[in-house]
Amino acid sequence: MNNLNLILAGVFSTVAASFGGLLLAGHAQLGALGRAPAEEGGPLFPSLEPGLAIQGRQVYLQLGCVACHTQQVRPAGQGSDIAQGWGVRPSVARDYVLQSQVALGNRRIGPDLANYGARAKSDAEIAAHLSAPAAGSAMPAFPTLFNQGKDGSLQPNERGTALIAYLKSLRQDYSSPEAKLKQ
């Protein structure tokens, strides 16, 4: 195998094969995926994100939350995500079509957040967790997201409010054509 041009041509072919076979074929299947109703004539899902949540997504990325939190619920036969209460159904590709940058994540030092908005009780609870996480948690407090109020309590500032709005917007508790909620 002394012909180096042949080696380069061969390597190019191997890269082209995986690029075409995985990415182009995947694009052909999912590239035009958009919002859709669970039943014909129903409302379109996923819902459009509120503006504040879009700003909060930037805060989420800036803080590097994706290093510890995933946003994907695996099917029941593939891990215990649903048994952990992180979602009511597995995540599907359609859930992410509105996200300009998908933050699926690949490590869980903290719990999954794909459906966090559905299980968070209130803004105050989320704010309390961000300002003073539970003892023993590996999560740090985020003091820069809060201002001190006149009464000494911590109040979310603009970025903190946006992040809370984003976390509340994380919901996968609706039926989609690919994943129906169990009755």
Partner: protein, 483 residues
Amino acid sequence: MSQENQPSRPSGQGRPQGRPADTGSPRISRVDASVASPVKFFFASALLWLLVSSVLAVITAVKLHLPGFLNSCEHLTFGRLDAIQRNVFFYGWASNALIGLNLWLLASLGRFEFRNGWIATLGGLIWNLALTVGIACVLIDSHNAFELLELPRGVALAFFVAFLLAALWPAVAFVRRPTGQVFVSQWYILGASFVLPVVYLLTQLMVLWCPTNGVLQALVHSWFLQNFLLLWLGASALAAVYYFLPKELGTTLTGYYLSTVGFWTLFLFAGWTGPATLLGSPVPLWIQSSGVVAAVMLLIPLTITSINFFGTLSRDSGWTRAWNNTTLRFVAFGLVAYTLAIALQIVFSARSLNAIVRFTSFAAGQQQLLTYAFVSMVIFGAAYYILPRLTGAFWPSAKLVHLHFWSCALAVVVSVAGSLFFGWTQGAALAAAKPFAQTMQPQEALLSSACAVLFLIGHVAFALNAFGMLTTCSSSTEEARQA
């Protein structure tokens, strides 16, 4: 020869690499002199980045069990520092060192005197400048969500230009050399030097410049990551192993004729293994299954490299001789790690096993096994061989060589074993429906911190030795070039 240049002789470790068999000062060949400047530049840069990465690794490890550590400033959150540490390690340390190593191997194997070596040095300057700017941007503002794509988009363009100058240009120049036999190391270097810029550019386009729809971004990223790990880092390190093992043992490789098949099957299947890291994710099942099949097919190149390397080491007291040779001690360590890493990748691409360990520290342990225990250890071994030949000086301290090997070897063994063990136990506890908060194991973070400190000690020892050599090297490089 002055006293400072007297070669050190580590007990029970044979003579330090770079020293000729008999006494006498090390000589620099014309071929080595032609690439000395860029290769030394790349290794020196890599070393500086390795030190930065080691310090950052200590900070991030401490943050995992002391979340309040350095927490008053938003720039120093765990997520940002973790991303910076990763980029510094992969683009600063590993890539710099491998570009330099590949350059030297191409020149050395082809007996090929590079002209215009300044072009490669210019590429190195652009590469390191771009990385510095990129790290500053991540530190100051934001980064995106994908591992090893955190640097701003503009930096990627600079990386691309730099890589063309520093790595692809020498490869093309090599292709255009008059005649000569081609060795298996050269195939791997050419393949790796071609894959990285192409894959990196396509990924940047599809994830950052013109983002594809939804989860396709994650698919593209997984494709990039596996290509980067296996076909850039892995293939470059394999090229070095194919060179140093027979060279230092003074023998031929067992089953050398099989290496062609090993090369092509690695390049054919590695690019398809990305989706095997997305099992259970919201990507189509057929894509996930393709990844699993490709991962299993890695058994072919793994078997062939095992025959090549372990067959060779098993002959004529090869293991003992490798242990007594500084370069081969690191290389053999790396080979065992490579075999384990690929074997684990194959086994844990099975859906049932992957379901247990996915998202735990198990995957981090697997990655460290490949990128540190294999790639970095091979780079260390190569540096012990190459730098004396480029500087005309000996390694200043044998004790530091020992300290480097033992601290890094111990750290990586404990760190990887800890990640695999704690990852598996956490996954098993989660599978048994134990609440997530109760599956976290604080001992794991403590162990990571201890290992990070041990890594730092080893890297400081290596850097002291290497910079001692680089700064005291005589003008012999210049003399050789003039000769």
